[in-house]
Symmetry: C2
Subunit: 196 residues, 2 copies
């Protein structure tokens, strides 16, 4: 079964759109998904940005809000931007790195995105614990484990890999043949490409 890499960032609203549909859509195509949480912060910093481009360019930010409202309504999703935006997603990404190894990243990721962008929740410890519980995990134990040096190193390595792959935004999709697709709009095209 062909495999597609799904690179996503918990602070990214467009990653929310893809996270909520990728597994079902990839399943329809007969494509397997590798969940790749990462942090956009270091990549944006390398581009000279210290926050989201939606904050740096207000007209773009206003359009993003309206675009999300329209697209979420079309897809039967709720939408509320967490404040402040973007949230600090470091702990969430470390947890998802563990989840990707152990198979519960999809459930955890969907639960956390639904809280963060469906309800506007902050990525604080209580919300992370709630998402872990929804994914069937022992929240307290997992949050302790996410502080381990090996998990921190794993996420750092994953970020370096993202940058080396030419990823500059989220969500991004990479096929086995190495094609990079950026943006939720390109998910269908990326899946079709995976089958070539």
């Amino acid at each position: 079964m062909p495999k597609i890499q799904f690179w996503y960032e918990f602070a990214s609203n467009y990653s929310y759109l893809s996270a909520m549909r990728i597994e079902a859509l990839a399943g329809d195509h007969g494509v397997d998904v590798a969940w790749k949480p990462f942090l956009l912060g270091p990549i944006f910093a390398a581009q000279g940005w210290n926050t989201s481009p939606f904050n740096i360019y207000p007209a773009k930010g206003r359009h993003m809000i309206r675009d999300m409202e329209r697209t979420c309504a079309d897809r039967g999703l709720t939408f509320r931007l967490p404040e402040p935006f973007p949230q600090n997603s470091l702990k969430a990404a470390r947890l998802a790195v563990i989840g990707a190894d152990e198979g519960w990243a999809p459930a955890f990721t969907r639960a956390l995105f639904a809280l963060a962008f469906g309800e506007g929740a902050s990525l604080d410890d209580a919300v992370l614990a709630q998402a872990l519980a929804i994914a069937g995990q022992d929240a307290e134990a997992m949050m302790l484990r996410a502080r381990n040096a090996d998990i921190k190193a794993r996420l750092k390595q994953q970020n370096e890999q993202a940058q080396a792959l030419g990823i500059f935004g989220a969500p991004s999709f990479i096929t086995e043949s190495g094609e990079l697709f950026w943006g939720d709009d390109r998910l269908e095209q990326a899946l079709a490409w995976s089958l070539r």
Copy 2:
């Protein structure tokens, strides 16, 4: 018949994608198109950019090229980026402003985009004349006319209107109810919205 405004820039590769399909697609939806050429330069300058973001952010630029190659192949279009990129589109936009008044903007716009992004042609006088001829116009007379002060003023006014409408990139689509959609990816959604 509902009307949608199509805001486009001759130096913008994603405007090429929309220009080649909007009339047929809008026709299928029963929507009329108002062709609105404008210049991104002043809008980018207001955002602190002195060139295309695809030049400022090289990883984004590399993805754009590949994305255009893939999407044009899917749509049966050729693709070649004119050099240097972006081209100076001032004269082209002035001509299209006349064409929008007189009804030949669609034919001229498609002809010029096909030359510029289908074949990589520069937006120089010979190429503008070729596109005018394809659109059935007297090229020499029209290029003289485009130098008139009233045409220059009309384009300037149109640029100011774009900025006042919150347009920050191209292509953009605006429905009669005032909804702004950015990007060729949003054309279908914008047309569906026009029918609400």
